[in-house]
């Protein structure tokens, strides 16, 4: 029933994962399995690191032992250099998961007489492969051979044979090559590798260094042709996958409170959507960072992680300033839920920021990322570049279901204009605006948009106090919308008026009570009179009855005395 045919539905190119963060994503799985891959680039572009990381991760994460054949650096130097990147090469060598073979070529020691081939190299490499059962091989940098052997014709033929031989051995090979003038490699070796050629670039744009990776060719597979920015840091290479990001993210319905209860009320009663992007714009000093800090604090108080990328203030400055409005971020930093990363935007290029931010997100795995402010990014790129970089960042975070909050400084009174034009990327847009009147400046907050929820269209007064942010209803009345002192005055007037009305009612109540009393006493007087008359009437009736009896008795007595009969 289930034949082996079904298990391999399509004869696809098999790939070997490099384990290099991001690289496997842009290549759809890594480098072609069992084939040589050429990595070319200028000096310091990260070729050797690429090769070494390919081996170390292969040995460590994929159980594929590897051989590093170095034509340039001595094995001791290699081990030392890469130990600083956290690669325990010595350990892997001891476990026989990896071997480093340093090939020393000294032109002055070699004299050529007659025909030769590089069988010695083959034997040596073959022996090394067998000694650890290698599945991966790195040759760094094979072109060093050209300086060691004078006969280029033989060398070319032998290198071509070497690549074929590597294929026959079934090992996945990474071969590094120095970039030539106007060519990919100095000696045109890209002609010999038909399967996969990757170019690493390290260039300066406006005194800012940016590393980029480009897939020149990758036979039999679809790949992005873009340049992918990458980063070299203490954990190795990190390639930012750009095209792996599509508009395919899930849209969670779960809500995440904003940290300001009243703001939650404005946002349909429950706060932001989890995984959405939130923009807080405002002119200078309107409290954008305060709102961000509230959010951060509320996130951490629920035991979730928050990454705070600060581009304007240092970590301690933010902590100190936020303490003044009653938001203490220190405990969250101490227990590791809040991670600050404060850099000047000009530290490195936009792409590098993007890569490093992505890396931070990947390492820290936050539930919420705050960027404060994004407007500063304009100093390292044009608005269009910043927009595209942010879009990619937001998209990649959305894919992970991470909620993002950005603050953005806007200048002038035109509220709808963010300098970078990112507002269209945002799901929720809150703006904090200065309201100047009666010689004072107050803050008004309103929700410009919030996709997918019934949000308030009201302006709320945004008050920063020593116990945090409060949103207060603005005074809306005959005198227009009032805030600050004017609102207080108006409110106190209102209260006065209210009091007067209440007193009036009180007075009327009292009047009524006394009147009621008076009426009641009148009523009781009349009743007393009535009852007196009633008694009088009863008395008369009684006397009349008695008189009648008396009269009858007298009549009877009279009759008896007359002796009638």
């Amino acid at each position: 029933m289930s034949s082996s045919k079904e298990s391999i539905p399509l004869k696809q190119l098999r790939k070997t994962p490099t384990g290099i963060a991001g690289f496997d994503e842009i290549t759809g799985g890594g480098v072609p399995q069992g084939r040589p891959t050429l990595i070319c680039g200028g000096p310091g572009s990260g070729k050797t690191l690429f090769g070494m990381e390919f081996l170390v991760r292969g040995a460590r994460d994929f159980d594929e032992p590897g051989i590093f054949m170095s034509f340039e650096e001595k094995d001791n130097d290699l081990v030392e250099n890469f130990t600083s990147l956290g690669f325990d090469i010595d350990g892997l060598v001891t476990q026989e998961k990896m071997a480093i073979d340093y090939v020393h070529i000294e032109r002055s020691e070699i004299l050529e007489t007659g025909e030769f081939d590089l069988e010695g190299l083959f034997v040596r490499l073959g022996f090394a492969i067998d000694s650890v059962g290698a599945k991966r091989v790195v040759l760094d940098t094979i072109e060093a051979l050209f300086s060691g052997f004078p006969n280029e014709g033989i060398l070319r033929a032998e290198i071509r044979r070497l690549f074929r031989w590597l294929k026959d051995q079934g090992v996945t090979a990474v071969i590094t090559c120095e970039q030539g003038k106007g060519t990919l490699t100095r000696h045109g070796l890209e002609e010999y590798v038909s399967d996969c050629v990757i170019f690493l670039d390290h260039r300066m744009i406006e005194q800012v260094a940016t590393r980029r990776l480009r897939i020149i060719k990758y036979r039999g597979t679809s790949h992005g042709t873009n340049e992918y920015p990458f980063l070299i840091d203490e954990g190795g290479l990190y390639v930012l996958p750009i095209t792996s990001v599509g508009l395919t993210h899930e849209a969670p319905t779960e809500r995440i409170p904003s940290g300001v209860p009243r703001l939650d009320t404005m946002l349909g009663g429950e706060g932001y959507f989890r995984g959405s992007s939130i923009l807080i714009t405002g002119t200078a000093g309107t409290g954008k960072t305060s709102l961000a800090a509230h959010f951060a604090s509320s996130v951490c108080s629920r035991g979730e992680r928050c990454l705070y990328l600060a581009f304007e203030e240092s970590e301690s400055q933010i902590v100190r300033n936020m303490r003044s409005i009653g938001v203490d971020l220190k405990p969250w930093m101490d227990n590791g839920l809040l991670h600050f990363h404060a850099t000047r935007p000009t530290l490195f290029g936009l792409e590098m920021h993007l890569v490093s931010m992505n890396k931070l997100v990947k390492d820290f795995k936050p539930a919420v990322v705050i960027m404060d402010p994004i407007s500063n990014m304009v100093s390292v790129g044009s608005p269009a570049e910043v927009k595209s970089a942010l879009m990619r960042f937001i998209d990649s975070l959305k894919m992970e279901g991470i909620t993002t909050l950005f603050t953005c400084l806007i200048s002038g009174q035109h509220q709808d204009l963010t300098e970078i034009g990112v507002s269209s990327l945002m799901d929720t847009w809150i703006t904090v605006q200065d309201i100047e009147s009666n010689g004072e400046r107050n803050r008004g907050l309103y929700v410009i948009k919030s996709r997918g929820m019934a949000h308030s269209n009201q302006v709320r007064e945004f008050v920063l106090s020593s116990d945090g942010v409060h949103l207060v209803d603005v005074y809306v009345g005959a005198g227009g919308v009032l805030t600050g002192a004017a609102r207080l005055v108006q409110e106190s007037k209102d209260r006065q008026f209210e009091k007067e009305r209440e007193e009036e009612i009180e007075r009327k109540k009292r009047e009524f009570a006394s009147r009621k009393l008076a009426v009641e006493s009148q009523v009781s007087g009349l009743l007393a009179e009535l009852s007196a008359q009633e008694k009088e009437l009863e008395k008369i009736a009684h006397e009349e009855a008695e008189r009648k009896i008396m009269a009858e008795r007298e009549l009877a007595e009279l009759a008896r005395q007359r002796c009638a009969d």
Binding site: E109, L111, T113, G114, F116, D117, L118, E119, R124
Partner: protein, 110 residues
């Protein structure tokens, strides 16, 4: 490994008649190239180093480990272990003049 001119033992076979030559020929299997190299070497040695040389032939197919020790890449490679410094001559050794130069049996033309 630049040769320094003030070394009296170098330059001419006549100046160092007592020097013993320890030679090692690396091959990989019995290939025509290896055979040719060995034949050429034997001939040169018999002519120029009679009685004061030894040749060790190392087949890397049998002893792949040894390739690393002398940093052998090209096959065939002739290594002059003694007298020092170590010198390597690659190829079939068909160019006798160059071999003699490589073995310091002829002064080098600068």
């Amino acid at each position: 490994m630049a040769l320094s001119g003030d070394n009296p033992l170098m330059g001419d076979e006549e100046t160092a008649p007592e020097k013993h030559y320890e030679l090692r020929l690396y091959v990989a299997g019995q290939t025509p190239k290896s055979m040719e190299a060995f034949a050429n070497l034997k001939k040169i040695c018999e002519e120029h180093l009679k009685g004061r040389y030894s040749i060790e032939v190392i087949d890397l197919i049998e002893n792949p480990k040894l390739a690393k020790g002398d940093q052998i890449l090209a096959i065939p490679t002739l290594v002059r272990k003694l007298p020092e410094p170590i010198r390597k001559i690659i190829g079939t050794l068909s160019d006798t003049e160059r071999v003699l130069i490589g073995l310091d049996l002829r002064p080098r033309k600068s």
